[in-house]
């Protein structure tokens, strides 16, 4: 293209919105690049030690967790999705969305709740002892280490598989399944020969989300004392303040993530089915008698384990510690959490809206831009946190002359001790959550209103405020809620990036649990669960509106 016509294109497309978008993308990309670049640096002694004695063990633990959680969540998620979409039984409608509720309880909260319930003094053993005089081999119930972590991850993360598989089964598969039924195949044969292979892309997509969560986890694994690459990142930073080695570990974890990502793509794409897009919804078969009761029982057990039991236990504990925990300092904690989450979410939604608006134009570059800014979601919080930390420490070093010129003392850690660092971390990590919601809003309205407005004499900024914003505000609202909830639940990133003595509901809960003050942890935990339930409700409402 000639230079002049490039200039002409720039004139059509470039504007303030673009400039903000490019800055946003750079800020998001920088910490991630920093982590990658660490690989080309000369490693230090700590690294050789870790690699020699520990890394093998970390990697093995990580693989065991990922493998078993992956298999079990697929089993549970798909079975439940199949049951609630292909069969009708008592309370099916309730279970249909109720089975999403386990997502409202962050796994680290579930971990300490279950472990305490099953301990010698916990409700299970003491009831057995006192009511029925039954003594149980403590080994049998010991709820820690890998077994406990796999249980917790499975019960509290399976909804990812469940949601995606169910949406797929309900909307896409009816003709195949009905055909198989008409051909006289037994339900089990239909399930294994038709449903599983058909739903494979959906199942793998859901399992991918679960695996990313497991790889990012710090709360559950560190509470159970399992060493993984993520916990190692924490140890090198908090134990040795060695940011270079922490970054090197993060880069390793990053490679595993990329590996999983590629594997997921391969597994998903090898077989593509051309499903008719006009397919009608699957009509469930009515179950009666024993099968109906069994289906009901199965859903009830899963929902009890995944939501009701821990919820009631936490409520009971909250009652015990209410007077002690529910005071002014708790109120401060709450407002602190809500305001930091609200500020970060507001930044995310504003930046996401600007970038999503820019990315509606047709050339290839916006596509890359949108991929860049949403990349944070598939990267564990710990990796992003270490990258942000390194960038901020570097910034403080670079700005040191300026600081001393301003009379702030010699080389103070100004930025890297401030709340700004945490907000930047949140923004990078959860940009995708907000962006995807905003993008859906823009996709729904298309470009025609924008074009109409511009032909009536309004520039893009005025068009945005008068036409687009009113039309996408529902999408912005649900994006806000979903992002806000994710931030309130987040643990590893805030642990690494918070300023000294700064607490949120999540860090306080985790601190109580680590200090074995389990009963005290109940109230902040319940608060987090209440906030998380909001996003489940939003999910449910969106689902309902889509159906209409």
């Amino acid at each position: 293209m000639k230079l002049e016509s490039v200039k002409r294109y720039a004139k059509k497309e470039l504007n303030g919105w673009w400039i903000i978008s490019l800055i946003g993308a750079a800020v998001i990309l920088l910490p991630i690049l920093y982590v990658f670049l660490e690989i080309f640096q000369e490693p230090n002694e700590n690294w050789y030690q870790i690699r020699e004695y520990l890394l093998g063990n970390y990697v093995i633990n990580t693989i065991i967790l990922v493998f078993f959680t992956g298999i079990l969540t697929i089993f549970l998620g798909v079975t439940l999705a199949w049951l609630t979409s292909a069969y009708d039984f008592p309370f099916r409608k309730f279970f249909r969305w109720g089975l999403i509720l386990p997502l409202a309880i962050p796994p680290y909260i579930a971990a300490y709740t279950y472990r305490t319930m099953l301990s010698y003094t916990g409700i299970v053993q003491s009831t057995l002892r006192n009511q029925w005089d039954v003594q149980i081999n403590p080994e049998l119930l010991s709820f820690s280490s890998l077994r406990g972590a796999i249980f917790v991850f499975t019960i509290f993360l399976f909804p990812y598989v469940y949601i995606i598989a169910r949406a797929f089964l309900e909307s896409q598969s009816s003709s195949y399944i009905e055909n198989a039924r008409l051909l006289g195949r037994k339900p089990t044969a239909v399930f294994f020969k038709i449903v599983l292979p058909l739903a494979r892309p959906a199942i793998i997509g859901g399992a991918g989300l679960v695996i990313f969560e497991v790889l990012s986890d710090y709360g559950v694994t560190s509470y159970f004392g399992i060493h993984t690459i993520t916990t190692a990142i924490f140890q090198t930073w908090f134990g040795m303040y060695d940011v270079d080695t922490a970054m090197r570990l993060a880069a390793w974890l990053m490679f595993i993530i990329i590996g999983v990502f590629i594997l997921e793509r391969l597994l998903r794409q090898r077989k593509r089915y051309h499903l008719s897009n006009k397919s009608k919804p699957l009509v469930p078969i009515k179950l009666k008698g024993v099968p109906a009761a069994a289906a009901f029982m199965f859903c009830t057990i899963v929902l009890s384990l995944g939501f009701i039991i821990p919820l009631f236990q936490l409520i009971a504990w909250a009652g015990l510690t209410f007077d002690k925990v529910w005071d002014i300092s708790f109120f401060t904690l709450l407002t602190q959490t809500v305001s930091i989450a609200a500020i970060s979410t507001a930044i995310i939604i504003i930046v996401a809206t600007i970038i999503a608006n820019v990315c509606r134009s047709k050339w290839a570059f916006p596509y890359i831009l949108s991929k860049v800014i949403t990349s944070g979601y598939s990267i564990p919080g710990a990796i992003i946190a270490i990258g942000v930390l390194a960038v901020f420490i570097q910034l403080d070093e670079t700005l040191a002359p300026l600081y001393s010129y301003m009379g702030l003392g010699d080389a103070p850690l100004l930025l890297s001790m401030s709340i700004v660092m945490l907000i930047v971390g949140y923004v990078i990590r959860f940009m995708a959550t907000g962006y995807n919601a905003v993008e859906v809003g823009f996709e729904k309205i298309g470009t025609k209103y924008t074009e109409a407005s511009r032909l009536l004499g309004h520039g893009i900024t005025k068009t945005f405020f008068r036409v687009e914003l009113p039309l996408i505000k529902g999408a912005l609202f649900s994006g806000f809620i979903l992002t806000f909830v994710e931030i309130c639940k987040e643990l590893p990133l805030v642990l690494l990036l918070r300023p000294f003595n700064f607490e949120t509901l999540a860090t306080k809960t985790f601190q109580y649990a680590k200090d074995e003050m389990i009963h005290e942890a109940a109230i902040p935990s319940l608060m987090i669960i209440a906030i998380s339930t909001m996003s489940v409700v939003v999910f449910h409402l969106i689902d309902k509106r889509v159906k209409k």
Binding site: E4, R8, A452, L456
Partner: protein, 229 residues
């Protein structure tokens, strides 16, 4: 005065593909109503989008009222071109009433002028009682009148209409055609009307051009006819 002049216009959606518009030239005088005829996919909508500034041509130039709006070096934003457009599906803003839709395009006008212009436009399309309705409370034909009034309100130099009858019942078409012509002539607007129906052109336009596919690519050919009254 030539109110619209297009010279050697060439456009393709992707570089590798055959151009949708190929070396197209055309001009029209003030107050003319010109029909553009062509089968579906022959590039009619694309031509309108190029005139409006919603797409950038690969080659060629467009002048409106003797001022360049796009050349090899220059590009004027759609909002600064003084081009009005009635879209195929009207695109009335769903969150605004009829009144607000009409006022939307009156940017640099005083308050009193806006008021009188609103009244004038509603009278022109005979929709005075519908001022406070929302678009979804109107029938298809009523929506079309409002879309027309909205596009005319800012007094554009050129009005573009893309398949204005495609969403209307066919038994209404005859009377609507005549009404549209009388509205357009009353305002003295210069108008390009795109359609695939020769009857539309014969009822409304002063002359017409037809665009057609030749060979593999979409090549625009020109054929002029003077309207016989």
């Amino acid at each position: 005065m030539k109110i619209l002049e297009i010279k050697g216009l060439t456009f393709s959606f992707t570089k590798s593909k055959e151009p949708v518009i190929n070396d197209f030239s055309f001009s029209m005088n003030k107050g003319e109503i010109v029909g553009i005829l062509g089968q579906s996919g022959s590039g009619k909508s694309t031509l309108l989008r190029l005139i409006a500034g919603l797409e950038i041509p690969n080659k060629g130039a467009i002048h409106i009222a003797e001022a360049p709006v796009v050349t090899e070096k220059l590009f004027v934003q759609p909002e600064d071109r003084s081009v009005g457009m009635v879209f195929q599906d009207y695109v009335l803003f769903p969150h605004m009433t009829v009144k607000d839709n009409l006022l939307f395009g009156l940017v640099r006008t005083s308050r009193n002028e806006r008021k009188s212009r609103l009244k004038e436009m509603l009278e022109l399309v005979q929709m005075e009682e519908f001022e406070l309705r929302y678009p979804h409370e109107l029938s298809g034909g009523q929506q079309q009148r409002i879309a027309l009034a909205r596009a005319l309100a800012p007094q554009p130099k050129v009005l573009l209409m893309d398949e204005p009858f495609s969403n209307l019942d066919s038994d209404l078409k005859d009377s609507i055609r005549l009404e549209l012509r009388s509205i357009l002539k009353k305002t003295g607007i210069t108008c390009i009307l795109v359609t695939h129906d020769r009857n539309d052109v014969e009822a409304i336009c002063d002359r017409s051009i037809s665009m057609s596919r030749i060979g593999d690519g979409n090549v625009s050919s020109i054929e002029k006819r003077i309207r016989i009254k």
